[in-house]
């Protein structure tokens, strides 16, 4: 353990020691103060990365679309987030006359709080974690579902038909895409045998008795569906049809301005970043990696995942609302269930843990062989699902074409007559 690797731990111990020796508080109070400080730092980290990421995203998407992006404020537009922040602060804060004031004013706070609470369980390095809950993965997914309440509050509190409709649409989307998200976290939990995020990372590293294979290799289908539903869950393009910046006014937050709107925006971004972190932890091995210190690996991997989000936003067209729900309920959910059952059976048949094999029977294999089997089954599920979907879509298209051809022939006959 070198100084650099342990940097965050050393800083934490340093602050802890300073508070204890200077103020002479009881150990409990010192712990409480350090935890509070850590919480403030975590929230600040999320908010600052929100500021930075808006700039990076605007620049990157602009490059993809052959534009320049923000370039006026500061060198190469680097001060743009600060300019945006000042603009948000100084904007007039309007409230509709007929709004339900309590609900209207609380909604942005609730969404921001829910978004930030997720970070309490994310492990950034060994020992650098808010709290190591033994149900970490479950906690993140549950807290994510809490933001739905805030969206309904915003839609209702505004007392605006468009806001309410937008809230309905958003809730339908979020509730729907929670299902495949949960279904594809389950195989990872089964593999690791624990819901703690640290145990899940340990399972993917060689150091603590794990296999050393990141889950994305074992479960590519789960990773893909988790990514898709994660993007839909955070309502980012191409699933941003509840906001649809270029088509309709806005969704549930149409009546909000100034800092309250900024809080909604922050909630959305912080949630998206949390999904990127979750993807890193669940499928990319979290903070595990050679040479560089663990926290750098964690941030690098999450940044890479977030770059994929931006890349998708810059390149994909927005999908229609019926396509979105069809894809979720008719494709992602059934395929995920089939995949889940298959993974269960295969894990029972080919355990890599000697104790488990002893207890439950089955053929004991090495982790590498197990990984190969899981990878193959995932591929089969993915290809099979895609083939069925393509066939169905082709059938529907052919039927429609047939109908159109028949009508055309009729019209021709009528015209001739």
């Amino acid at each position: 353990m070198s100084f650099i690797t342990d940097l965050l731990n050393i800083i934490g111990n340093f602050i802890h020691g300073i508070i204890q020796s200077i103020f002479g508080f009881s150990p409990f109070l010192v712990d409480a103060i350090t935890m509070g400080l850590a919480a403030v730092i975590l929230c600040t980290f999320a908010a600052v990365s929100f500021m930075g990421l808006t700039y990076v995203e605007r620049k990157l998407v602009a490059r993809i679309q052959d534009r320049v992006g923000p370039n006026q404020a500061g060198p190469v537009g680097l001060l743009q987030p600060i300019a945006d922040g000042i603009k948000m602060f100084t904007k007039e804060d309007t409230t509709p006359a007929a709004a339900d004031r309590w609900v209207y004013n609380l909604a942005p706070l609730v969404i921001a709080v829910f978004a930030l609470t997720t970070y309490a369980v994310l492990p950034f390095a060994p020992g650098i974690v808010g709290t190591n809950l033994n149900i970490g993965a479950f906690y993140v997914l549950a807290i994510g579902s809490g933001s739905i309440i805030a969206i309904i509050m915003a839609g209702w509190g505004s007392n605006n038909k468009y806001a309410l409709l937008g809230a309905f649409r958003t809730v339908a989307q979020l509730v729907g895409y929670e299902v495949p998200m949960l279904l594809n976290v389950l195989p990872v939990i089964m593999l690791a045998g624990s819901m703690s995020l640290i145990d899940i990372i340990d399972h993917q590293t060689l150091a603590n008795g794990g296999t050393g294979i990141p889950n994305i290799v074992l479960l590519p289908f789960c990773a893909l569906v988790f990514l898709i539903s994660g993007i839909a869950e955070t309502a980012r393009s191409p699933f941003d049809l509840l906001e649809a910046e270029s088509e309709i006014v806005a969704g549930f937050h149409v009546e909000y301005s100034g800092m309250k709107f900024a809080l909604f925006f922050l909630g959305e971004y912080v949630n998206a970043l949390a999904v990127a972190f979750m993807f890193t932890v669940l499928f990319l091995g979290g903070y595990a990696g050679p040479i560089l210190p663990p926290y750098v690996w964690m941030l690098l991997k999450a940044a890479a995942v977030f770059t994929v989000f931006m890349w998708l936003r810059g390149t994909l067209p927005r999908i229609r609302v019926d396509q979105m729900h069809n894809m979720n309920w008719k494709f992602l959910v059934p395929a995920s269930i089939v995949n889940l059952i298959l993974v269960m059976i295969l894990l029972k048949l080919f355990p890599s843990d000697a104790a488990l094999a002893q207890a439950n029977g089955g053929i004991l294999v090495t982790p590498a062989v197990q990984a190969g089997i899981l990878f193959a089954s995932n591929l089969v599920v993915m290809l099979g699902a895609l083939a069925i979907a393509a066939r169905r879509a082709r059938g529907a298209r052919l039927a429609e074409e047939e109908m159109l051809a028949a009508r055309r022939a009729e019209n021709m006959a009528a015209a001739k007559a």
């Binding site: 609900v103 149900i135 479950f138 997914l141 309440i149 509730v175 109908m403």
Partner: protein, 241 residues
């Protein structure tokens, strides 16, 4: 006063205050939101009991799903704004609530009675071998702590809970029954909300078009018979389609 006790009172206050608001508020939507707050308080109580899994499940199921359902039902109820919900059944509700509360107090409170199944007419047929037993008095955790018997939640309680659900001697049957019920409900919902297949939709459309065409033909025939001197209208009607 330990910190746990203070937190317990805070959460209890949240639960009870929010619940009181739910039943007294005239605004249905605010009632539903306060119900959410009440659920949160319950989740907090679970955390105090070292039952993190149940706290998170409370948030996911009660806040993420059930209250959303309630709020949707409230919002989609026609004319809910300005409507003053009235209830003429509060006497019955109060009696039922009081009975349930009394029952819970009996089970959880410091009361113990000896119960002999043989003395009850129907039960003595079912439980023939049952002996008299003491009922009630599950000691409260706080009382236990006062008495020095600190509860310790085992580290493996999640795994134990999972095993209990699939153990044939414990909760396998209720678990399967609930799973079956949810399955049936899901299938029913899918059946009701089923979108018809493209082929069926095409057939429907063709039927509709045939109907329209026959009507059109009838109209044309009528027009011809009524005004044989005006062939232009018939041609226009034919071209229009």
């Amino acid at each position: 006063m330990t910190l746990q006790l203070i937190l317990f009172f805070v959460f209890s206050l949240v639960v009870l205050g929010a619940a009181l608001f739910v039943v007294t508020s005239r605004n249905l939507f605010r009632s539903a939101l306060m119900l959410v707050l009440s659920f949160f308080g319950v989740a907090g109580l679970y955390v105090l009991l070292d039952a993190g899994l149940f706290a998170v499940a409370q948030i996911l199921i009660y806040i993420g799903a059930i209250s959303i359902l309630i709020i949707f039902a409230v919002m989609l109820t026609r004319g809910m704004q300005g409507m003053e919900p009235r209830n003429s059944q509060y006497v019955g509700a109060a009696v039922v609530a009081a009975l349930v509360f009394a029952g819970m107090l009996f089970i959880l409170g410091p009361f113990r009675v000896t119960f002999d199944p043989q003395s009850v007419p129907l039960l003595n047929l079912i439980f023939r071998n049952a002996t008299p037993r003491e009922v009630g008095a599950v000691a409260w955790p706080y009382a236990l702590e006062q008495a020095g018997a600190l509860r310790v939640v085992p580290e493996t309680y999640i795994a134990d809970f999972g095993r209990a659900l699939v153990d044939i001697n414990q909760y396998l049957l209720p678990f399967l029954l609930i799973a079956l019920m949810v399955d049936v409900a899901l299938a029913g919902a899918v059946h009701i909300a089923r979108q018809r297949r493209p082929q069926e939709m095409i057939e429907d459309r063709q039927e509709l078009e045939a109907e329209i065409a026959s009507e059109q033909a009838a109209i044309e025939a009528l027009q011809r018979s009524a005004a044989p001197a005006l062939p232009d209208t018939a041609v226009a009607a034919g071209n229009e389609h």
